[in-house]
């Protein structure tokens, strides 16, 4: 199963161009959803107005090289390791889900555009990356869903209570899970048995929900969060710091330096 390219097997029944068009449609849906989100919530407008205001209180001008170095550092550390989540379970679950999804999407795009015809031999690495990515997404998503989800413990809501905010994580888990089951059924050579088709349809529907529901879900946070992290670090570097005081140049043992208790229920 893990060495099979499910899209090349699919191309025996559905033309490659149709599969490729579906992927382009998904990218278009995600972009359109994000644009509508930006226009409706006006968050990007607020973001740029805030950045302009912050520039007025900057104590020094950043050069192009310095600006680029701050952005690279932010991408490598803040965004690449989701440092804002601290050193806890939330961060591990988020990293699993984030890198799993990235691997899953990249491998899907490569296999669909480069190796989707039944005649082209797929290098072993891509199906393996696709399957590992999907498994990581399911693991991270389920960890979040069952153990870390906000309000599960604090508000005593049961784990099966679903609200609008769950659209993103559930659609993500469903896409990966149905994709894996569909791939497994394909590897069994069932000769067009019904269950193979059912899971293909479920995989398609979950993709439509994930990419078509961008406006209603948390999908767009993957664009906003990096932008906010870059703006925050640029503000630290140019001295405006969003009006925050500078880091204290304190002598040793200035205060007690206590380690506070981390909230356990979030």
């Amino acid at each position: 199963m893990i060495y099979n390219n499910p899209f090349s097997i699919l191309s025996e029944t559905i033309p490659s161009i149709a599969i490729q068009s579906f992927l382009i449609l998904m990218v278009g849906l995600a972009l359109a959803g994000t644009l509508v989100d930006i226009i409706h919530k006006k968050n990007v407008k607020y973001f740029f107005e805030n950045a302009k205001k912050a520039k007025l209180s900057a104590t020094r001008e950043l050069g192009v090289r310095e600006r680029a170095s701050v952005i690279v550092k932010t991408v490598a550390y803040d965004i690449g390791t989701t440092s804002e989540l601290g050193a806890g379970k939330r961060r591990v679950a988020h990293l699993l889900g984030m890198y799993g999804t990235i691997l899953f999407w990249i491998a899907s795009a490569v296999m669909i555009f480069c190796y989707s015809s039944s005649s082209s031999g797929t290098p072993l690495a891509w199906p393996i990356i696709w399957h590992i990515g999907a498994s990581m997404t399911i693991l991270g998503g389920c960890w979040f869903w069952f153990f870390l989800r906000v309000d599960v413990y604090s508000e005593a809501h049961p784990w099966y209570r679903i609200i609008k905010a769950d659209l993103f994580v559930l659609a993500l888990i469903a896409t990966s899970l149905f994709g894996l089951i569909w791939s497994y059924l394909q590897s069994l050579n069932l000769n067009d048995r019904w269950d193979d088709k059912v899971f293909l349809v479920l995989y398609i529907v979950s993709n439509l929900v994930l990419f078509g529901g961008v406006y209603w879900s948390k999908f767009a946070h993957m664009f906003y969060k990096p932008g906010a992290a870059i703006q925050k670090n640029l503000a630290e570097a140019d001295g405006s710091r969003d009006n925050l005081p500078p880091e204290a140049d304190a002598p040793k043992k200035f205060g007690l330096g206590i380690k506070r208790e981390a909230p356990k229920h979030y």
């Binding site: 906000v150 604090s154 500078p246 204290a248 200035f254 205060g255 007690l256 380690k259 909230p263």
Partner: protein, 156 residues
């Protein structure tokens, strides 16, 4: 005045929810970020502002002077044990303060009752509470403020 949350900064960690003495900082169910559910009940104690690890919480000034650009922001650095304040006045003047954190670590001043002497049955039945009268320290003369030290011209 009351607190509000910068949504781009908040990651929904819940530190503000735990610390809020008025219990008005909650996690929004849809966006999963902190939100002040009842600004009128905010005590302006700044507990959540100081507790927020992402500096995502700020305090909104009254509408008549807030647009004029004042700001009171705080940075708490636990590992250094410092708390820094930056006050920006409406005329652009700035003041910075750095103070030590004086919060006591959890459990440091909890009386160690388990290691103390156990009260006998008579002491349990007595109306005097545990460790009284020694604990009240009433054998000495009670503290008082001499009237001479009061401000002149003020009558008590």
């Amino acid at each position: 005045m009351s607190t509000f949350v910068y949504m781009t900064r908040c990651d929904g960690c819940g530190h503000c929810v735990d610390i809020c003495p008025s219990d008005i900082m909650h996690i929004d169910e849809t966006i999963r970020r902190a939100v002040n559910i009842e600004p009128n009940f905010c005590w302006e104690c700044y507990s959540c502002v100081k507790a927020c690890p992402n500096h995502a919480i700020d305090v909104r000034g009254y509408a008549d002077f807030a647009p004029m650009g004042h700001s009171v922001r705080v940075r708490r650095e636990e590992e250094k044990g410092t708390i820094s304040w930056k006050i920006k006045f409406r005329n652009g003047k700035e003041k910075n303060f750095v103070s030590p954190i004086t919060t006591k670590p959890w459990g440091k001043f909890i009386p160690k009752l388990a290691t103390g002497e156990k009260p006998n049955q008579d002491e349990i039945k007595s109306q005097i509470l545990y460790n009284e009268p020694e604990g009240l320290n009433t054998k000495k003369e009670l503290p008082s403020i001499p009237k001479d030290s009061f401000k002149k011209g003020v009558y008590y």
